[in-house]
Symmetry: C2
Subunit: 543 residues, 2 copies
């Protein structure tokens, strides 16, 4: 999309476009050379996190314009609207009150519901940890399997993995895929007598989740002979108590899901039960507290000291003025290996849309592709493209100041992170590459040619986000940071971050095609490719 970016009638969008023309040739290295205090001016803190945004294509003028862009979409008012429960999810006439789930101020709506549910979670965690909750044959629970998909999976899966060092409960496993292989591999090491399943589905009709729950129930049946006893091995997190009870779960063991919390924002709710079981309720509350601290920062800090606002504005600056089509998030911490997967849902399901809040089509780009992997893996893989590829890809590096007591590893990890950020910024000139080769004894003619392949353009922007460590509180703050970044971007793009209509058609079609794969008449109005592949499947099934 190459239309000018004008999400509202304000002048600032045009001013930013003009300003982009003025700064697009500036070198990041020159900006640092010109201002020895650039780092001092361009890093800030919130909830224990440090954001260094100095390696971006921004001058003080850019920041001033970005601040005006935030004003043009009424950012402070919209933040209050979000936190106070206004109907920010306009197409579904709902608020998006994930912040209420971690409120420690007493101001947020739904306080009683939240506190009551937290008390229930706490009691359940205590009973299970104490061995009071037992399976049908009288044994305590050693393994918990969360069956859910999307928001009922990615959040708790990522957090539980990230907080591995804090585990103090049963082993927690996660099954999402309708491919039975995931369930089978998970159950291979477990005993039915000591396994508890959490079935997480708002409607209790999610295809993948129900199929896996049914297969889990069948796996239990051989051991747990009497049907009624299955209730000792299943709890649910759902808004549909009736369906859960029909499945065989006690109504008392159904934890709630609410319309005012979206799936991809729900790990702070009962959906976080697997987290609480793995690390204990205190650490779960520390996670919530870290997020609350970020919420308070988001609500109160001025735009240019506001971490979520800065990240959101910078993303739009690159996406809509520099035409960056993707954004890489690279955590230098093994604990955060699943963080990019989690962020893919958060960013792309929230803002991968083309229709504006005013029901007109956006004629500009909205969410870029978000991708990344745990580091230092990527340095030996796709960093080649980040350094020498033909696209501008802004990067968020995430690292920790502390990383265990082994000096042979963590300082190298952090050094690699800082080195990548600096290498992307400075690059390497043709002359420097050529001199190196000649100093190594290479003939001039060969050096002339090879240096062209070794030069790196540099001038590639990045943020560095530093945590003290991947603790529950810091992780909570980090997640909230990206949640709010996503909201800020939705405001700038003038879209609703909280619906997801784009996933509906596929669901309906899959029911129809499943029917045709399994014996139903194949509709002649289907395209020839879908029909052809259905026939291939049927032929293979008869082999």
């Amino acid at each position: 999309m190459s239309n000018p970016f004008r999400p509202t009638g304000a002048q600032v969008w045009t001013d930013l476009a003009e300003h982009h023309q003025n700064v697009r040739e500036l070198s990041l290295q020159a900006l640092f050379d010109d201002d020895p205090r650039r780092f001092d001016a361009m890093h800030c803190r919130a909830a224990g996190l440090v954001l260094d945004y100095s390696r971006n294509h921004v001058t003080l003028k850019t920041l001033d314009l970005l601040q005006r862009a935030a004003e043009a979409v009424a950012l402070p008012e919209k933040v209050e609207a979000l936190l106070n429960g206004a109907e920010v999810n306009t197409t579904e006439h709902r608020p998006a009150l994930h912040t209420a789930l971690r409120d420690f101020s007493g101001r947020a709506p739904h306080r009683e519901d939240v506190e009551y549910t937290l008390a229930r979670m706490s009691a359940f965690v205590r009973a299970l940890h104490a061995g009071e909750w037992r399976g049908a044959t009288g044994k305590p629970v050693t393994d918990v399997v969360n069956i859910g998909i999307g928001g009922s999976d990615l959040g708790p899966r990522m957090v539980t993995d990230a907080l591995y060092d804090y585990h103090a409960g049963p082993r927690c496993h996660f099954v999402a895929n309708i491919d039975r292989a995931e369930l089978d591999r998970t159950l291979a090491g477990l005993s039915p007598e000591t396994t508890l399943f959490i079935v997480a589905s708002k409607s209790f009709t999610t295809l993948e989740t129900l199929r896996n729950a049914e297969s889990a129930r069948a796996w239990l049946r051989d051991v747990v002979a009497r049907e009624g006893d299955l209730g000792r091995h299943f709890i649910a997190i759902s808004a549909n108590v009736k369906r859960a009870v029909e499945f065989g779960i006690d109504a008392d063991h159904v934890f709630p899901m609410w319309d005012w919390v979206g799936g991809r924002y729900s790990l702070w709710s009962a959906i976080g039960l697997s987290i609480a079981l793995a690390v204990g309720m205190d650490h779960f509350n520390a996670l919530r507290r870290g997020a609350f601290d970020m919420d308070e920062h988001f609500r109160t800090a001025p735009v240019l000291e506001n971490l979520p606002a800065l990240l959101g504005l910078l993303g739009v600056w690159y996406g809509n003025y520099w035409q960056a089509a993707s954004h890489a998030v690279l955590p230098y911490a093994q604990a955060l290996r699943q963080f990019p997967d989690f962020l893919q849902q958060l960013a792309m399901e929230s803002n991968g849309k083309s229709m504006r809040l005013d029901n007109n089509a956006a004629d500009y780009s909205t969410s870029p592709v978000l991708w990344g992997s745990v580091e230092s893996y990527g340095q030996h893989s796709f960093h080649q493209l980040l350094h020498q590829g033909t696209q501008l890809i802004p990067v968020d590096f995430i690292a920790t100041l502390h990383g265990g007591t082994d000096d042979m590893h963590h300082p190298w990890l952090l050094a690699n992170c800082l080195a990548q950020a600096r290498a992307m910024m400075t690059g390497k000139s043709y002359e420097a590459a050529r001199e190196e080769l000649i100093a190594q004894g290479m003939a001039e003619k060969e050096a002339d040619a090879l240096a062209r392949h070794k030069q790196m353009p540099g001038n590639r922007p990045s943020n560095i986000i530093l945590l003290e460590r991947v603790s529950p509180a810091q992780l909570g703050a980090l997640i909230a940071l990206y949640e709010h970044r996503t909201y800020v971007q939705s405001l700038l793009w003038q879209i609703n971050a909280f619906d997801q209509w784009g996933v509906e058609l596929g669901k309906a079609l899959s029911r129809r095609i499943h029917n045709e794969l399994t014996g139903g008449t194949v509709d002649a109005s289907l395209d020839s490719a879908t029909r052809g592949l259905i026939e291939l499947y049927k032929a293979a099934a008869e082999e």
Copy 2:
């Protein structure tokens, strides 16, 4: 990059640009409606795989032009050059002979080296499986830990995971990250007495790998008291025998790496030892054989029936004419959950470059970002953006015809895959969305508005690649398919797919910054941000 794409002086690039103007408004659905035989014409087979490329923005004219594009870069000759050992890696003056590692024709170079190494691998696998290879305290090996990174990790890690159903040896684990947490989590469940480490590093100096190997050696020392006995717990895959011996590995237990195989193409070599240990030598050879079948297909099939050529050409069609900035690969098979990570290295480290073979800078886009995840996870996450986002993102769907015996799962998995491909193609019109809402009883005015958010533009292209199942042979063919796709694209972009100079600067910088983090004087010429973060680290370390 918006320059016209003219990688060579041939006319075809301009013809393609003109043709793009003619077809860019065509609807995929209309192409199907106009030609009932489109699927018949646009699917083909190789090595047991089916490629359905009918849902692409191509007409017969497009295919004709793409075939001419292949001729313009002398594709058949270049394929022969690759397979025969020509110096296709021009900047390093090396061939790229990964195909020789899986040659079953007797024609490929280095036959003796390959067969001798396979025989050594086979003997080692047999001895370990038979319990003849024992640890220092006399116990057989139950767990193997491969320590490597990049090409010495991603390939064997992905294949070993994908072939889980074929495991018949010790448990195989993989450690790559210099973050000690990965090693610690891996070793937590293992016994030093029964653990064997494979240290995989061509130079035997790779920072991450050596640090992890040293920490593994320290972990063993308490149990394996005599230093000499450490040799029973370590083998190496390396070109540097001297360094491996200095580390404490017997020269007889060093398997070779060769200059004529690149890291990201090396899983077919001794780097695949962990695969062979996990699934046995027969299955490893079946993997090689499947890849060989694809090599033969690549060498002999006409361009428009040639799977790697078609995938490569289509990728360039979208990247350089439709300005697609990324490409999604979505495997509908839990076994292939790590396949996108593997492909990220293959595609982006190979072709994420700006310098041409003729030492001139490319003035057009080269490798797009490759991303994706195992399905059906993504359907509940980023598919929102694929359906309703503002970018054109071509997709490769990968699925299997067979998927175990449980009819409750696999037909649904495949139905979901076919449904996503169809939904991306057909979309949903505003009128259809509106009618549905009114039929559900919604007031007209509200339906008018909401239907705008529920409509989907469709016309989004995809390939479907069908495997019979994720067997060793089919997986081998699938990997070779993408290897050759990558090579085809490098020819079209006129770049060297086999070097990776872009990763060098970061490595050098990280040594310098590590020194500064750990007490060395901080160079005042460093940018203020890097210096500032080093100071933050030092202050935190003193806390």
